[in-house]
Structures are given as C-alpha cells and as structure tokens.
C-alpha cells in the first residue's frame, strides 16, 4: 500500500516536471529565438535548416541598428514619455488612492466606480476622439498628446493598484496622527506615503512599462520620424517591404530587455497588489 502510494507520487512528480519543462520552452522559445537571431551574422540568419545556436557570435546588427540616428531618437522619446507618464501616475494616483481609502464623502463610491469603468474603456474607442482633441488643441505631433493618451490607459490602472496598497494600511495610524493635530496633507506625506513607498514605486514602474509598450495611440498621434516611440518605429520596420531581420531582432531584443528587468524588480509588489484586490470572486 505504502509502496504504491510512493510510486504514484513519483509518477506525478515526473508528469509535473515534464509539463513545466514544456511550458518553460513554449514561453521562452520566442524570446530566446529573437535574442539568438540578433546575435547571428547575416549568413547564418538565412541557413536552411536553421541552426539554433549562432556559430559565430556577432554584434553587427546592434551596431547597424544604432548607426541609424532615428533609433536613438525612438529610445529617448520612449524613455521621456514613459518617465513622465510614470511620475504623473504616481502623483495623481497616490492622491486619489489616499482620498478613496481614507475619507468618506458623498460621491466617493461614484469616483471609485468611474475609475474602474475608465479602466475598461479600450484605447481603440479613444483613438479617434483623442486624435481630434489633440489636433484641436494645436498639439499634433507632440509628446504631450501621447502622454495624455498614455495616461488614459495607465491612470485608472494605477489608481486601482494603489487603492489595493492603501487599503492594507491600518486606519488607526491615520486616526492617531489626526488626533495629534496633524493636517490631512501632513498625514498623507509623513505617515501614509512612507508606508506605501514600495507600492507607489512599483505602480509607477508598471505604468512606465505600459507606456513603453503602448502602440496604437502613439502610432496615431505621431507620424514624424524624429518624434516616434520605439514600438511605433519598430512596427514600421516590420511592415516595410524590405525587411532587415537582423536589425529587427536586435531592436526587438533591446526593446524587451529593459521591460523584463523592470518587471522583475517590482514583480513581488505587483503580484501582491493584483491578487489583493484584482478580481474578487
């Protein structure tokens, strides 16, 4: 009896291991293939049958990619836009989350519902109106327009994540400070915010990632080469008739690496925040 239980346990162990290996391969393969392709010299990129590992490692595609001045512009543009989006999200987001979790006023619930509903409004529906609005304000081809567009996507998400962090703080701290005569702003800055720093920062970084990855709205609002973001620039590369696969793989790799690193840094808090209040069953 005991022996048969042991063998079933080993059997399950083997099945689980096989499944996990299979999953890891499926998830890792596209990314690994991209990185490996970017390191293969031109001849090897087009061999048949394709070889998995590069025979002669080469950085030629990276050098070629960055010798195009526009590529550096794309990078700087994405960095600038995502950074601004991150800061604005953290500022407005924390104020909102503080307000929604610590005060009880009429309309509080309505704001909460509106934020959640705004979270569900998809970019494709905002595309045309935002395009018209940004142009009407005389800001075509501007980064401000893109930043506003990215905020429509990231702000509701940020508020939502931040609310889950603020909710976890005990209310008593706040009340004690108020009793001691601290003003609401003081409580916010000196008591609540320090306790939420990791949550606020990780929310900001998630907003950065979302902005860095955003494609549709950026592509609609910007058509000037020098103003484009990285995703838009890259998408143009793949839809052009003559495709430089090596350069594209190199660019794809450097677009993805920062995002994966940032995500690794904040993942713990992200998982915490998402699972605390994401979808309650």
């Amino acid at each position: 009896m005991e022996k048969s239980m042991k063998t079933t346990k080993i059997k399950t162990g083997i099945v689980v291991t096989i499944l996990i290996v299979f999953l890891v391969v499926i998830v890792g393969f596209p990314l690994a293939w991209m990185a490996l392709s970017s390191l293969k010299p031109g001849v090897e990129l087009f061999t048949i049958p394709p070889k998995i590992m590069p025979q002669n490692w080469s950085l030629e595609w990276y050098i070629q990619a960055f010798s195009n001045p526009n590529v550096i512009r794309y990078f700087l543009n994405s960095l600038l836009i995502a950074s601004v989006v991150m800061v604005v999200d953290m500022l407005i987001g924390t104020l909102t989350a503080y307000s929604l979790t610590r005060f009880h006023y009429k309309g509080r619930k309505l704001i909460l519902i509106s934020v959640l509903a705004a979270y569900c409004v998809p970019p494709i529906m905002l595309m045309l109106p935002l395009y018209k609005i940004v142009n009407a304000f005389g800001m075509p081809e501007s980064h401000i327009g893109v930043i506003i567009a990215h905020l429509t996507v990231t702000l509701p998400f940020s508020v939502w994540l931040l609310v889950s962090f603020f909710k976890k703080l005990p209310k008593e701290i706040n009340e004690a400070a108020v009793m001691d005569g601290a003003s609401e702003m003081q409580v916010f800055l000196k008591v609540e915010l320090p306790l939420c720093v990791s949550g606020v920062l990780s929310t900001g970084i998630m907003a950065f990632i979302m902005s860095w990855n955003e494609f549709l709205l950026s592509s609609v609002l910007i058509s000037k080469e020098s103003m484009k973001t990285l995703t838009v620039g890259l998408a143009n590369y793949i839809s052009s008739t003559h495709i430089d696969w090596g350069i594209i793989m190199a660019l794809g790799t450097i677009t993805t690496i920062p995002v994966v690193i940032l995500f690794a840094l904040v993942q713990k808090y992200f998982v915490e925040g998402m699972t605390a209040g994401a979808v309650k069953g």
Binding site: L23, G28, L116, C120, P122, L126, F263, G281
Partner: protein, 300 residues
C-alpha cells in the same frame, strides 16, 4: 441620539472636503480625456465627418445603415467573435492549468511563477516581430518545421493562408495573455479553505472528483469576472493582429478594431469609423457594467 457638537461637525465637513480635493485631479482628467472623448465619439457617429474635409454635418443614422448594408461587416463581426471567444477560452484554460500546476508547493516555485509571468510585459510589437520571423515562409524556423512535417507546402507560411492565419493570431494572443488569469487563479486557489479539501480526502474523494466538485465551483465567480474583463480587452484589442497580419490575408483576420482603424486612417471617414466603434462600444458597455458591479472591487 446625541447631537454632535458643532465644532466636531464642522471638522468633519472640512475633512470630507479635503478628501474630495485630493480626488480632483483624477476627476478632471477622467472627465476631460475619457468621458468627453466617449461622448464625442457618440456625436461623431451621427455625422459625416472626415479627416480630409473641414466641415461635417449631422446625418442621423446614415452611418449605421451603411454599416449594416455592408455585406462584409457580418464577416468581420464573425471574425471578432471567433477571435474573442477562442482567445479568452484559451487564456482561461491555460491560465487555470498553470495555476493548478504552480499552486502546489515545490522547489523554485516562486522563480517559476516569475518566469511564467514574463509574457505579461513583453511588448506586443516584440511578439509580432518574432512571430513574423519564425513564420517567415523562406527562413522561419517554425515554417521550416511545418514544411518538413508536410503540414505546409514548401515556401508557404501559415500567416499567408486564409484559414490558419486566424488560429495563429489567436495562439499568439493566448501566449501573451495567459499570465493575468494565471495570477488571479493562483491567488483564488490559495484562498480556498484547506479544510474543505481535508474533509474531502477523509471522505475518500479522488483528486479528479475533488477538482470537479470542490475546486471548480469555488472558482466560478472568479472565472465569470475574469472572462468578462478579458472579453472587453480582447474584442477591442488592435495591436497584435495589426502588426502580425494587418487583418489579412483577404480580410480573414480583420476584426472590428482593425475595421475602425482602416475606416479612420485608411479612408478617412471618421464618422463612419465612430459608428463602428459605437457598435463595439455598446456591446462592451454591457460587459463593463457587469464587470464593475460584479467584481466586488468597489466594496470596502
């Protein structure tokens, strides 16, 4: 009931006002850049506005009549349903399966979970360019395998074939979107009371029976809310299809978001485009209402 002292009353009022003040930036932003655009879109859909002419006029429901008299619209609508249904089904099934796999205690479990979350942040453009590369008819490694296996003709790619193209984009979409359901299911599984399982084991219920009669029913609400949220995201998701197939070949992967884009920036008929997005919007509105009321997120 005792009457509250006046001083306290005014303090409370001030406190409430300050609380509201903290929320003003977000209120202003949402009114100006979410609510106003949505309403503006409604208005646009009743006009013949165009990106290439300055003036536009009210045309009533002309745009809607035009949409429904377009024979291709039904095809694109059907594409939207197939794309949404199979993407959402795929990511929920995969997400739940992986959650079940990683919910068991094991060595390196946290590292594995972190790794499996990566697709959540991989830019769609990255996935699109890799898939175009591996599916390239001449040099793509996956195309090569398929050709060798005799599943695809020589120098042919699944992306260029009308039937399979939709399946390819659905699979790609499942690849990038399973982490969210995985995470939520994982959390939901952890929150199920262990005692129920213990009781079941004592009663002699097998693993499969326990899963069917305990785990699944416990995940029912999570699944419904997740499915609705993912339907909203998927049905309106533009980037991946646009970058991988552009809606082709011959419209076989064109869904409503692609159609909206084409009508806006391909033929510049933004009134018409707004009407298509209204149709999508009304369908999604029902889902949004459902999600907001059922998610339990607005409760304290």
């Amino acid at each position: 009931m005792l009457r509250r002292p006046r001083l306290f009353n005014s303090y409370e009022r001030r406190h409430k006002l300050i609380g509201l003040a903290f929320a003003i930036p977000v209120i202003v932003f949402l009114l100006a850049f979410v609510l106003y655009p949505v309403l503006y879109n409604v208005w646009l859909s009743f006009t013949n506005a165009s990106l290439i002419k300055k003036t536009s006029s009210f045309v009533g429901i002309d745009n809607y009549i035009k949409i429904f008299s377009n024979k291709l619209f039904l095809k694109y609508f059907w594409n939207t349903i197939r794309w949404t249904f199979f993407s959402v089904l795929g990511q929920l099934v995969l997400g739940l399966s992986i959650a079940l796999l990683i919910a068991r205690p094991m060595k390196g479990g946290t590292a594995l979970r972190s790794f499996l979350l990566i697709p959540y942040v991989v830019p769609a453009v990255t996935l699109a360019l890799v898939s175009k590369w591996i599916m390239n008819s001449d040099y793509g490694i996956v195309s090569y395998w398929l050709q060798q296996a005799g599943l695809v003709e020589a120098r042919q790619s699944l992306l260029a074939m009308q039937g399979p193209a939709m399946w390819v984009v659905v699979i790609l979409n499942v690849w990038r979107s399973y982490p969210f359901p995985m995470l939520i299911y994982w959390a939901a599984l952890k929150s199920i009371d262990k005692q129920i399982y213990e009781a079941a084991t004592v009663d002699g219920a097998g693993k499969w029976k326990t899963f069917l009669h305990i785990t699944l029913p416990q995940l029912r609400n999570t699944t419904i809310v997740l499915a609705v949220l993912r339907i909203i995201w998927t049905a309106t998701y533009y980037d991946l299809i646009f970058m991988v197939t552009g809606g082709g070949p011959s419209g076989s992967t064109t869904h409503l978001p692609i159609l909206i884009y084409q009508a806006s920036f391909g033929s510049y008929q933004i009134g018409y485009a707004a009407a298509i997005s209204m149709i999508l919007g009304v369908l999604m509105f029902a889902c949004i209402i459902f999600y907001v009321t059922r998610s339990g997120l607005t409760e304290d």
